[in-house]
């Protein structure tokens, strides 16, 4: 199927120290996106040291040998740029978008912290950012209605020994225990050029960029001893339904559904993504139409996948019950819609509409240099294949009704289902009953990060 989305032309090279450099020229606007993915995420953390990857990401904005605390951001902003960093289960990324003539500033800043971060690391900065991260956790999870769902999702869908079991925000007790030496060790292990991908997209000349990359990064030593991850493989399903009821400070009950799903990169996850579009992609989607519009039993509904490369991804969603509607009724209707997808093929028109929206989304996403650079880094880091930037859409558009039925049948099964039910808070004595045998993590979590 031909697509209206333009092809991204790029070059893909490696410096002698292993740093992968990907460059895509785009001369429409005088801007450049610089993006570095490090192949380290919360899955690399070991018990007792959860939350390190994310805390570390904060430390990356605290200065390096030639850059003072807070100066990284000051320099980017004064150059008319924006920047951030995020941490996720499989990786950590850092990025700047700058006026194109400030390209070298961005490269210099990234190189300085890749090579010399430890020269600037201090107990004071570590302590400060530890407090910031604790407030991030309070803000993103603890002080937010339904805020614990994501941590619970990971905690239930992955067994305790699996590195996806804990959230990226990690345990506050572990963060409290983090020493300067721990943080230094983390840096020396994972923040090496041979564990990074640098993508540059925008109004630049490829030869100039490659020369500059060599100049700024070429002498940073590789780490030949990056420890391999253990085996992340998992059974494809949970092996039994898990249910938990959570009493929270919420006015309306909400049910979250979670499922183990095919790993990111598996074409079956592409089919599940298309299924997600049909089930929950806007006002015309099946869940919205039935729960919110026709039966009027829910205030809202959602469904999405979180793709991970190790073992299994997550497919999850929720619906919030309207006042007076038993949450069980909402759950039953929600599940019925998922299961219907496994037994009835989607119509040609439904699939065509989903494709048109996916295609337009793709068109919208890659129009910004920041997003294009991020995707190049992502596909290179996770799949050793930056060319996926031009093939993922084709893969989505090749999904068939049969493939959707197959993945729905394999995923939306009772024995692969987590049901988290949030109910308005009861007196403290009754709170937080766990009615299954699953272990509940004691920390909240999440992804990301931030400077």
């Amino acid at each position: 199927m031909p697509t209206i989305v333009p092809t991204v032309e790029f070059t893909d090279t490696r410096l002698a120290n292993g740093l992968r450099v990907i460059v895509a020229e785009d001369h429409l606007a005088p801007v450049v996106g610089i993006n570095v993915w490090y192949g380290v995420g919360s899955k690399h953390e070991v018990p007792g040291k959860t939350g390190f990857a994310h805390l570390f990401e904060h430390v990356m904005f605290q200065g390096s040998k030639h850059v003072a605390k807070a100066e990284h951001i000051a320099l980017v902003q004064a150059a008319g740029g924006t920047m951030n960093g995020t941490t996720w289960l499989d990786r950590t990324n850092y990025f700047e978008t700058l006026p194109a003539h400030q390209l070298e500033l961005g490269l210099w800043l990234e190189a300085d912290r890749m090579a010399t971060l430890l020269d600037a690391l201090s107990q004071e900065n570590l302590d400060n950012q530890r407090e910031v991260v604790k407030n991030e956790k309070r803000w993103s999870y603890d002080n937010r209605p339904y805020g614990s769902w994501q941590e619970k999702l990971q905690g239930h869908l992955y067994p305790p020994e699996h590195p996806y079991h804990h959230s990226t925000i990690g345990s506050m007790a572990d963060l409290d225990a983090a020493s300067l030496e721990d943080v230094s060790e983390f840096f020396r292990t994972y923040y090496a050029p041979n564990n990074a991908v640098l993508s540059i997209v925008g109004d630049v000349d490829t030869a100039d960029v490659l020369a500059a990359a060599e100049r700024y990064f070429g002498a940073i030593p590789a780490n030949p001893d990056i420890p391999p991850l253990g085996d992340l493989s998992l059974p494809p399903t949970l092996g039994g339904e898990i249910r938990e009821t959570v009493y929270d400070r919420v006015p309306l009950p909400r049910v979250y559904l979670g499922f183990r799903a095919p790993a990111y990169g598996d074409p079956r996850l592409d089919a599940l993504d298309v299924a997600g579009q049909i089930l929950a992609g806007g006002k015309g989607s099946r869940l919205h139409k039935r729960l919110v519009r026709d039966e009027r039993i829910a205030q809202d509904s959602a469904l999405f996948t979180l793709g991970f490369v190790g073992g299994a991804s997550i497919c999850a969603g929720w619906a919030t019950a309207r006042p007076g509607i038993p949450v069980e009724r909402v759950e039953a209707a929600y599940i019925e819609e998922l299961e219907r997808l496994a037994v009835e093929p989607v119509s040609t028109d439904e699939l065509a509409r989903a494709f048109a929206l996916i295609e337009a989304d793709e068109l919208g996403a890659i129009q910004r240099v920041e997003e294009r650079a991020d995707r190049l880094s992502m596909y290179a880091t996770l799949f050793d294949d930056p060319g996926l930037i031009n093939r993922m859409l084709t893969r989505y558009l090749a999904v068939t009704p049969e493939a959707i039925m197959e993945v729905a049948a394999a995923t939306f099964r009772a024995d692969n289902r987590l049901v988290l039910t949030y109910l308005p808070e009861l007196p403290p004595a009754d709170a937080a009953s766990v009615d299954d045998a699953a272990t509940v993590d004691d920390s909240a979590d999440d992804d990301e990060v931030a400077a």
Binding site: A70, E131, P251, G284, A302, D447, A450
Partner: protein, 522 residues
């Protein structure tokens, strides 16, 4: 791009910061302007190479213009436009739009209502047909209106439980007089939303739709499509209802006149306190708009703003602190905000007030001034990478009746802001002594310390025992921020999206989107 000869190296890296290369000039895209016979203004920005086109029809009548007893009617009218038209029911309209890969949407905020679409260029004309149908021929089916009303009432319940929304809603109910529309959420309160039915929405629609004051903006790779001819075909027959509202009238933005009030919504066991500090601020059309922008950036807009450096980077009290002006047709609020861990609630307030005082008392340094100016000027091209952003800036001009050269001259006007102008803006527009303080958090944990700090008259409200104060009825305080209040503020914001609070770009919870409206600064 090459930076001179042999830079000094220090071990594996280059020790010196590189000099910038030669900037390629950037100009805001050229805009063609036309006017149809019925008065509709059409603005067209052809952006070759940008195939996802953005089109919007914006009408400068908003929530601030609606009668107080049906507050929320404008926002709900916008939401109901797609719920059924003369030719389509809601699902048929949605499906027709999806077949084009178009996202068709309508929003309303304080200053305007708009209908917009993003669509691949090849299907623009078909998408505009749907947009015109939705704009001109909605039927407001009673049953769908009833559903939207219930959803809004449920949303108000949810807002009560969310500390952020509770703080925002309580804050506007505290700083504005009850006579001001800004005292209430733009999407209405429990009491007023209960009155909204199809007749109210149809009347609101008739009041807002007037081609003589409306503007259509189209931006993207238009190829040889004659947009004005398409507009003429689809919207040329649009005539005003004859009862159109006057979008140029003054908005009552009176302050509550309470002086410094410390209002606490007690939330037992809260691990953070949501803090809002401020007062009624400024309208968009002010002479010192650019100085206010620079001042806001220094105070609370940049990541390295005074507030964020003090509260986050020095003290670790918060994930992010900021401040800024929400510039509307009338004087929208000035707000300093942060969420801090409960134990440091009072010190965080004291620090925030001290920074507001310092902004007024001391001139900013040349370094601070340069950082803010350079950011606002330098980030300008980055802000207009997409057709949606270009169209958004142009609709902002239309809402506020500003000329096209406002954007063209933006950078030189920012460059011209000096230390004296920043000081003058701070002294004139920050009213620290009258700033109210709204807190949502565990009053039992910080109440005594708060009293001892002597910051002002304290009112503590507990959900089971409504305010004795009576200044702000509980119902009013409970309202939600409008989910879509995006039409104001063409001014490049200091944050240009959100550099004031970098973070969490991969948050799946973002699907659960909170209201996001334009503010200048933080």
């Amino acid at each position: 791009m090459t930076a001179g000869t042999d830079p000094r190296r220090d071990g594996p890296v280059i020790a010196e910061r590189p000099a910038p290369g030669t900037p390629r000039p950037y100009e805001f895209p050229a805009v063609r302007s036309a006017r149809l016979a019925n008065g509709l203004t059409v603005l067209v920005a052809d952006l070759p190479g940008r195939p996802l086109v953005s089109a919007t029809v914006i009408m400068p009548i908003g929530s601030a213009d609606e009668p107080a007893d049906v507050a929320g009617a404008t926002v709900m009218t916008a939401r109901a436009l797609g719920e059924g038209t003369e030719r389509y029911d809601a699902i048929a309209l949605t499906e027709a739009s999806e077949r084009l890969g178009a996202s068709l949407h309508a929003e309303a905020g304080w200053d305007a209502m708009s209908v917009g679409v993003e669509v691949p260029a090849s299907r623009l004309e078909a998408a505009l047909e749907l947009l015109a149908e939705m704009l001109l021929h909605p039927t407001f089916p009673a049953s769908e209106v009833e559903r939207l009303r219930d959803e809004r009432l449920n949303d108000l319940l949810q807002a009560q439980a969310d500390p952020r929304r509770r703080a925002d809603e309580t804050y506007i109910g505290t700083i504005y007089a009850a006579s001001s529309p800004y005292h209430r959420p733009s999407a209405g309160t429990r009491e007023t939303v209960g009155r909204l039915d199809r007749d109210v929405l149809a009347a609101t629609h008739a009041r807002i739709l007037d081609p003589a004051t409306a503007t259509m903006v189209v931006a993207g790779d238009l190829g040889d499509l004659d947009v004005v001819a398409v507009a003429e075909r689809l919207l040329g027959g649009w005539q005003a209802s004859g009862i159109s509202a006057d979008g140029s009238r003054t908005v009552d933005a009176s302050g509550a006149g309470t002086g410094r009030l410390v209002r606490v919504i007690h939330r037992p066991g809260s691990v953070q306190t949501e803090i809002r500090i401020g007062h009624p601020g400024l309208p968009r059309r002010i002479a010192d708009f650019h100085a206010v922008g620079v001042m806001s950036a220094i105070l609370g807009g940049l990541f390295n703003s005074r507030l964020n450096m003090q509260l986050r980077e020095a003290k670790g009290y918060t994930y992010g602190a900021g401040a800024g002006f929400d510039l509307r047709r009338g004087a929208g609020p000035f707000t300093a905000r942060a969420a801090v861990n409960t134990e440091v609630t009072v010190p965080a307030i004291v620090d925030t007030l001290a920074e507001l005082d310092r902004m007024r008392a001391e001139p900013v340094s040349e370094t601070e001034l340069a950082a803010a100016r350079d950011f606002l000027v330098g980030v300008f091209p980055l802000r207009f990478e997409t057709p949606g952003a270009v169209a958004g800036a142009l609709t902002g001009l239309a809402v506020h009746g500003l000329p096209l050269d406002e954007l063209v001259r933006y950078r030189e006007r920012i460059e011209a802001v000096d230390v004296a102008a920043v000081s003058a803006a701070a002294r004139q527009h920050l009213h620290v002594e009258d700033a109210s303080i709204v807190l949502v958090g565990d009053a039992d944990a910080f109440g005594a310390e708060l009293e001892a700090a002597g910051l002002g008259r304290i009112v503590i409200e507990r959900d089971d025992a409504p305010a004795l104060d009576g200044a702000v009825p509980e119902d009013e305080a409970a309202a939600a921020v409008a989910p879509a209040d995006g039409s104001d503020d063409l001014g490049p914001t200091a944050g240009a999206e959100d550099p004031d609070l970098p973070g969490s770009s991969d948050d799946p919870a973002a699907a659960d989107s909170d209201a996001k409206d334009g503010t200048l600064g933080g």
